[in-house]
């Protein structure tokens, strides 16, 4: 049986090692975790209980021994791996939206303006929201305070969607003090966000 000895280590190290072992274990595997401080004993207990992991704990001479049973196969159901490795704060299964113009499609700008509005309204009620919306070229005008879709964009942002405006474009259209939503970013950030997304949707 694998033994994770965290004696002499303080929180959060024991939790980190417990979680790591848990994620690496197979369904039904049992392992032990040792700690010699009360706070870590309490916090590891709470951590396991909150995550519905089965365990028993015994104390002897100031050392607590957890016997952890990965009964449910937590590692096979949790998406933890997806957050690791890339250094990205966007899980790769999400999608990004790139809005490149204040109009949707080409042909007639009046129609294009109506279309982009309904696109953004539609986006706001999607079951799965994008992780990020990137605005560039004349698209940044949609994020100005007097834009007709500003309230909807703010609503989308309030739901946790990141909104990034191309800084060069904001300057080009002299929108610096009229920005009503999102924050400006440079091309590197835009490229990073788009390349990290699972899919990029462009109206």
């Amino acid at each position: 049986m694998k033994v994770v000895d965290t004696r002499g280590k303080k929180c959060p190290a024991p939790i980190i090692e417990t979680k790591k072992t848990l994620m690496e274990s197979t369904k039904g595997e049992i392992f032990r975790v040792l700690t010699d401080n009360r706070t870590s004993y309490l916090n590891v207990s709470r951590f396991l209980a909150d995550n519905k992991v089965k365990f028993v704990v015994t104390e002897s001479f100031g050392v607590w021994t957890f016997e952890v049973n990965n009964e449910t196969g937590i590692s096979e159901t949790t998406k933890v791996g997806e957050y690791c490795g890339t250094g990205a704060d966007v899980p790769p299964d999400g999608y990004a939206v790139a809005i490149t113009s204040e109009f949707m499609g080409s042909g007639d700008d009046k129609l294009g303006s109506i279309l982009i509005r309904s696109f953004i309204v539609g986006l706001s009620v999607m079951d799965e929201l994008p992780s990020v919306i990137v605005f560039y070229n004349s698209g940044v005008k949609l994020a100005s305070k007097d834009s007709s879709v500003i309230d909807i964009l703010r609503e989308i942002e309030a739901k946790g969607v990141e909104i990034i405006l191309c800084g060069t474009c904001v300057d080009y259209f002299s929108l610096g003090n009229k920005i009503g939503v999102g924050s400006t970013g440079d091309m590197y950030q835009i490229l990073q966000k788009l390349s990290q997304a699972g899919n990029v949707v462009r109206p």
Binding site: K10, C11, P12, A13, I15, I16, E17, T18, K19, K20, T39, S40, L42, N43, R46, F47, D50, N51, V80, Y83, C84, G87, D89, K145, I150, D151, R154, E157, A158, K159, G160, N177, I179, G180, V181, S183
Partner: protein
């Protein structure tokens, strides 16, 4: 030789507070002074005490000090001072005067480190327009530093924990995660650059955020420190007689906060803050465990949590961002009081 203040302490900053439950137990046995000019006392667990001098003028009075949050003495001084002054801003006041509060070992640490901590404090105070006019030092093994600060406020412009109104939106002005990032850094899970970002926010005064807040005639706000976002929201909801709903997915996070928590880097204070507050909080079904724990991360010199009338929230966000607070976001709303004071979603 470079002084590393962190070797003196296991946990610094606002995570060094006495657990809130324990503190309440002690405080409830102390008499609360009665005086009609005391406008804010300990009853509402606010950021600072407020005493009326005239109809137009009141004193805002606060103190805060803690063991090192970073290795560099000068940076520690800056962070501790920004954190101490923050309480004045959170009450809608203008900070005016301060006294240094310092604990420092008479032997075992170079006196230059002492001077550097004070220098950091002075520079930050100057940025805030605060004059430091004295102080007191005690010989102690673990260094600790902070300020006692006096500010002024017009009683009619006072901003308190009790001023959140039903229907308001909640805006947060700084990203969350300083406690988690610092814990991760101690365990070598966080690179120096990323710690640098966290330190930048901890050093940042809440001055600009407070200036925007004043333009909007806000009555309810607090700053986020040792009890975590959820803990401070809870205090505000209780003092205001309302319930609050916070969507943790909308809360801006520092760098790799989420990833760290996902790897189990959950500081002990998250558990103690959670334990104290959870009876008053509901968690949405199937709430992400990491987001839940982040809500209880002790912040050092955290942002302002502002309760703003719903129709003005969008404009305020724009103004906060124009003032350089790029992470400002609506993270929740205020509702009528129900069975739980705080509803966390995520």
């Amino acid at each position: 030789v470079k002084t590393d203040l962190l070797r003196f302490t296991d946990h610094g900053g606002c995570s060094s507070k006495i657990p809130p439950g324990q503190l309440e137990e002690i405080l409830k046995h102390l008499p609360v002074p009665v005086d009609p000019d005391i406008l804010v006392n300990i009853d509402t667990h606010d950021d600072a005490g407020v005493y009326r001098l005239s109809d137009e003028l009141a004193l805002v009075f606060t103190t805060d000090f803690f063991p090192p949050v970073c290795s560099d003495p000068y940076e520690f001084g800056q962070i501790a001072a920004a954190n101490s002054i923050s309480d004045i801003y959170a009450m809608g006041g203008t900070p005016l005067l301060a006294l240094n509060i310092m604990m420092f070992p008479a032997t075992g640490l170079p006196m230059e480190a002492y001077a550097e901590i004070l220098k950091g404090g002075y520079d930050k105070a100057e940025e805030a327009g605060v004059r430091i006019i004295g102080g007191h030092t005690i010989d102690d093994q673990v260094p600790k530093y902070g300020l006692a600060v006096v500010g002024l406020v017009n009683p009619k412009e006072l901003v308190t924990n009790a001023g959140a109104g039903k229907g308001d939106k909640l805006i947060l002005t700084k990203p969350v995660g300083t406690g988690i990032i610092m814990a991760g850094h101690r365990l070598l899970m966080v690179a120096d650059e990323e710690l640098g970002e966290a330190k930048r926010f901890m050093k940042m005064l809440n001055k600009d955020g407070a200036a925007v807040m004043k333009r909007y005639n806000i009555t309810g706000a607090t700053d986020i420190t040792g009890f975590g976002l959820a803990g401070h929201a809870l205090k505000m909801a209780r003092a205001s007689g309302v319930s609050m709903k916070i969507d943790m997915r909308a809360v801006p996070l520092l760098g790799s906060t989420f990833k760290l928590v996902d790897e189990g880097c959950i500081p002990g204070t998250c558990f103690s803050n959670l334990g104290y507050a959870e009876n008053f909080i509901s968690f949405s079904e199937g709430m992400d465990y990491n987001l839940k724990m982040i809500a209880f991360d002790a912040q050092t010199s955290g942002g302002l949590l502002i309760s703003v009338p719903s129709e003005r929230a969008g404009d305020m966000i724009s103004d906060l961002r124009s003032a350089g607070l790029n992470h400002s976001r609506v993270i929740g709303e205020v509702t009528g009081q129900d069975d739980k004071l705080l509803h966390l979603i995520g």
